[in-house]
Symmetry: C2
Subunit: 593 residues, 2 copies
């Protein structure tokens, strides 16, 4: 097994030439002269330093580069400038924000990010190993380095739950996979017999166990960390960070589109504790935020604005992350033998990338992209991932009650925030043997339709608080399962929305009274669009507008519908097998007998 991890130039064909440049026997390909350089290893700014590059690698760092510069050396005068290592995002979700990797990189690269570690969990429930492999292929041969973590795999659906040990080993043995992805703490503590063997496989390979301990504290957090889980990106306050650090965990401070916790965590800088086990991560950036706020450069800038010393801010986005994933043999710092990944900025407090160098090449200058990301040709299977035996009919969404009862007590998903749901138990009338939507009480239908394991297998439930007063809204991008989720005020529009998705081979669709109002096709895995980021952002805006006009009361209808299947958000969820009570860890039916 090849570990990208600690591998150095030693194994490359370039090794001898890099060392020749170091020794002044050969000329550098690229030289950045006379800058202030951040040495992340010692935590020093070193003035009047130059960096000389041979091929993909740094060959020299110091005040006296003269003999490495020849006629063919590309020279950048960096006098008065500051050079820091390329940024690393230690926890991304490149499959969760609708864009392709190639589209995303157009923005990531110009800002100075040169290494990304992304989760790969999203595709596993919908396409298994083949899907993960195709996604991982899309990370390859890019101008910057991309690594992934393997899916854990926690699901609300029993059918989609878990990952076979053989499949996991196959994924983990890849040299671009650096760990096992987030394993939600409730599941790990509740079912150690299921997770510990996977953990052991991962640790044996010298790879990391990513954590997800939202809300955990005291004894249960302690038990979770004792299992070998070594990181968490879920703390939202400084005291939660401190508790995890004291347990020996590495903490990822999250500043992205799902949550932005930097401001509330920043007081950790004054807690008098070592910051070496802290990292800055995004946990995913939406197309809109990417356009507006940028990527890791914005996170590092914000850390400085939140009062972190610029040295610590950069370390948290470079060497600390590299060390955590055992990638510090090639990335994370500016020193001979490391990959030449650097960002030239005007001064230590302004994180504005004037030049971005990745693997020895200038990939961006003053916000302009100089190297194009590679567009991956997804496999045919990945472009045909929506499996239904037939088109749906309104009658498929009928909730039939076998008993001839007039009234039944039912469990309703109560959407109390854009993310959190509770259980609501209410009586519902039975009309002609059916339970129907009751818009007056804001109780409408929600259905989960399996698109993989048992194509078309459907569970229909009820939801309050989603707010639709007419029409329907559906999406193929449901967290942790292989389901299409549709919420609707009437069964005809629910069928229409799902059938339109079927035609699009994946996507999200809002419709009302038989008419499509807004849609976004997601032809790759039913998760990813083939459009440019700007257009995706536009379509997200259209969907937001349309679904809000149908009555949806929260901010992000796509996030809300996608997370209805989520296995880590409290607490009443849905999948094709029924309603899932995460609090008690069991699948339950709609009707309470």
């Amino acid at each position: 097994m090849k570990r990208y991890g600690l591998v150095s130039i030693a194994g490359t064909e370039e090794a001898q030439r890099v060392i020749n440049v170091t020794l002044g026997k050969e000329k550098a390909d690229l030289a950045l002269l006379d800058a202030t350089i951040l040495n992340v290893y010692t935590g020093e700014w070193l003035e009047g330093h130059s960096v000389c590059v041979k091929g993909e690698w740094i060959a020299y760092v110091g005040p006296d580069p003269g003999d490495t510069i020849g006629r063919d050396t590309q020279v950048l005068d960096a006098r008065g400038k500051t050079i820091i290592p390329g940024f690393i995002d230690g926890h991304a979700h490149l499959m969760d924000q609708l864009y392709t990797v190639a589209e995303f990189l157009r923005y990531a690269m110009v800002g100075g990010t040169t290494t990304i570690i992304t989760e790969s969990m999203e595709v596993f429930p919908v396409m298994g190993y083949e899907g993960v492999a195709d996604f991982l292929e899309s990370l390859k041969d890019q101008p910057i380095k991309l690594f992934a973590t393997a899916p854990a795999m926690v699901s609300t659906s029993k059918r989609a739950q878990g990952i076979p040990k053989r499949t996991l080993k196959r994924i983990l043995s890849r040299d671009d996979v650096v760990g096992l992805g987030e394993s939600y703490w409730q599941k790990v503590i509740g079912e150690p017999e299921e997770y510990f063997p996977l953990f052991q496989e991962t640790l044996k390979l010298g790879k990391r166990l990513e954590g997800h301990s939202a809300g955990a504290k005291g004894r249960r957090l302690m038990a979770y960390s004792a299992s070998g889980i070594s990181s968490c990106h879920e703390p939202i306050k400084a005291d939660e960070v401190l508790e995890r650090l004291r347990l020996g965990m590495h903490v990822m401070i999250r500043e992205g589109s799902v949550r932005a916790d930097l401001a509330s965590i920043a007081t950790i800088r004054d807690a008098g504790v070592e910051l070496r086990r802290l990292m800055l991560v995004t946990d995913g950036v939406s197309p809109g935020d990417l356009l507006e706020k940028g990527y890791m450069e914005g996170v590092v800038q914000k850390a400085i604005e939140c009062g972190f010393d610029p040295i610590h801010a950069v370390q948290m986005a470079t060497i600390n992350t590299a060390e955590y994933f055992s990638l510090d043999g090639i990335v994370g710092g500016i020193s001979p033998g490391k990959h030449a990944d650097m960002v030239v900025i005007p001064n230590p407090r302004e994180i504005i990338a004037e030049y971005v160098i990745s693997k020895g090449q200038v990939i961006a200058r003053e916000g302009e992209l100089l190297k194009s990301p590679r567009r991956h040709a997804f496999r045919e299977k990945s472009r045909n991932s929506i499996h239904l035996k037939r088109s749906l009919r309104a009658s498929d969404f009928a909730i039939r009650v076998k008993d001839a009862a007039k009234d039944v007590k039912v469990r309703v998903i109560d959407q109390v925030t854009g993310l959190v749901t509770k259980e609501l138990i209410v009586p519902m009338p039975v009309v002609d043997g059916e339970i129907r939507q009751d818009v007056a009480r804001d109780i409408i239908k929600v259905a989960a339709i399996d698109r993989r394991f048992s194509p078309g297998k459907t569970f229909v439930g009820l939801i309050r608080g989603f707010g639709l007063r007419r029409g329907a809204f559906a999406s193929t991008k449901s967290w942790d399962t292989s389901d299409i989720i549709v919420v609707g005020e009437n069964d005809e529009d629910m069928a229409l929305a799902v059938n339109r998705i079927f035609e699009l081979k994946g996507g999200a669709v809002a419709c009302a009274a038989g008419r499509i109002l807004a849609e976004i096709p997601l032809p790759f895995f039913g998760l990813i669009s083939d459009l440019p980021v700007e257009e995706i952002a536009g379509k997200i805006g259209e969907i937001k507008k349309a679904v809000k006009e149908l009555g949806f009361p929260f901010d992000d209808p796509l996030l809300s519908i996608n997370t209805l299947t989520g296995a880590a958000i409290p607490f009443l969820r849905i999948c094709e097998e029924g309603l899932v009570d995460l609090k008690h860890g069991k699948t339950v039916g709609l009707i309470i007998h």
Copy 2:
């Protein structure tokens, strides 16, 4: 391949029970109550904290252990005491100080060392893989954890030089081997084609490359570090430490019997740089020093006396080393899920082990050993490692000159300090076709006799400055080669010394006028004694006294004779193939034509 590295309780049968204790569902086996605990992850002293242990593992750390303590829990009241993690020596030479591992551990354990990483190079030239394997077996199943690095293998002898890639892979794939041992910088820079493939093998397995960059600086040090070498234990001043840290290397501060550099390096504490990549190591402790100064507890104490904050001093001997070798999943800190390796000391500034806990057991109390190290039964081959075809005769040490010249110019090893040698070119008379010792000019004979590859193959040279005015001194413990080395004022005593060693199956012998003056048998590999540390120390004293009485002018005749073959000490050395000029990297003859 199993990596001990990041492996946690997850894979053990105890896992569920440890977590049950954490959760308060089961009782601890051992509890240390109400102490001040050093949290090495955050760099904090936490008062009023208790540590509860289940089996080998820490299950709980915090102020409220009540529900984990049952009738059968062994309770230690640690009120007013301080608890720190067990010490780690990141660079030991357990084969280089004559004692067996079991003997050594009697002292290491009572002082609070619970993890040791040792080189294994010494045995490779004399017995190859089989010898390394037998030595590694002696590290197993001990009350504390012992890891090794694989031999690199740098030798003065071409026959002994290098390690076959297959053999290296076999050694590196062991779960108790954490890296490739020290690769001397001159060789790496000079012959990258030989070393880089070995480096690549090591890095692919996620293991470390140990460095040895004594005297290297500037471009050459930069080239050496660029090769992927990640540590060095050779700096002797703070500026040398800083240069290496800036290159991204981890630096081991050496405080042992070969050198003691802590005092001169200690100013690094005030350099305003991060200390996270510094480690305290011994590089080997002699029997005498072990009796007098102890082991890692003495090093940590000295670091505090040299002005390091006790937190940093302990971190340098615990978590920093654990992280460097990717062992921090099990050792280096006191937190749930880690091995229960701890030292109870009176207060943060007094490193006196009152209790030592290793793998959950109290192994020492107030200097008294409570668990016995395992005595390894070395294989028969390891106990019969001195191969000569026959006993030697005085005539075997004759230096015959083919030409009938009266005077020849010869290269003489000039012993200028106890370790360093230079080249001296002098005319020597030829008498009866032979060059003889010339005690008046302090020029006597030195011979290297192969005891493995070509048993009995002998090269006889001349040495000045070793000082013997009568007798001879011989040893089987020659660095980096498979030679017996003998220095003598006359050929008869040289033969006697070697023949006595042959009888002893290894050892060091001083004799004069046909009489043995002092000796120490080294029956295991010809490197290790089967005697207790105290007796070894006594015998070393006798040898010192005897050889000094013969005229030896430096401090340690054993060290001086053993290093005559050393491949990393300047600069004229000897092996069975001839004289070795390390400055020019070539083997040369005695006579200059």
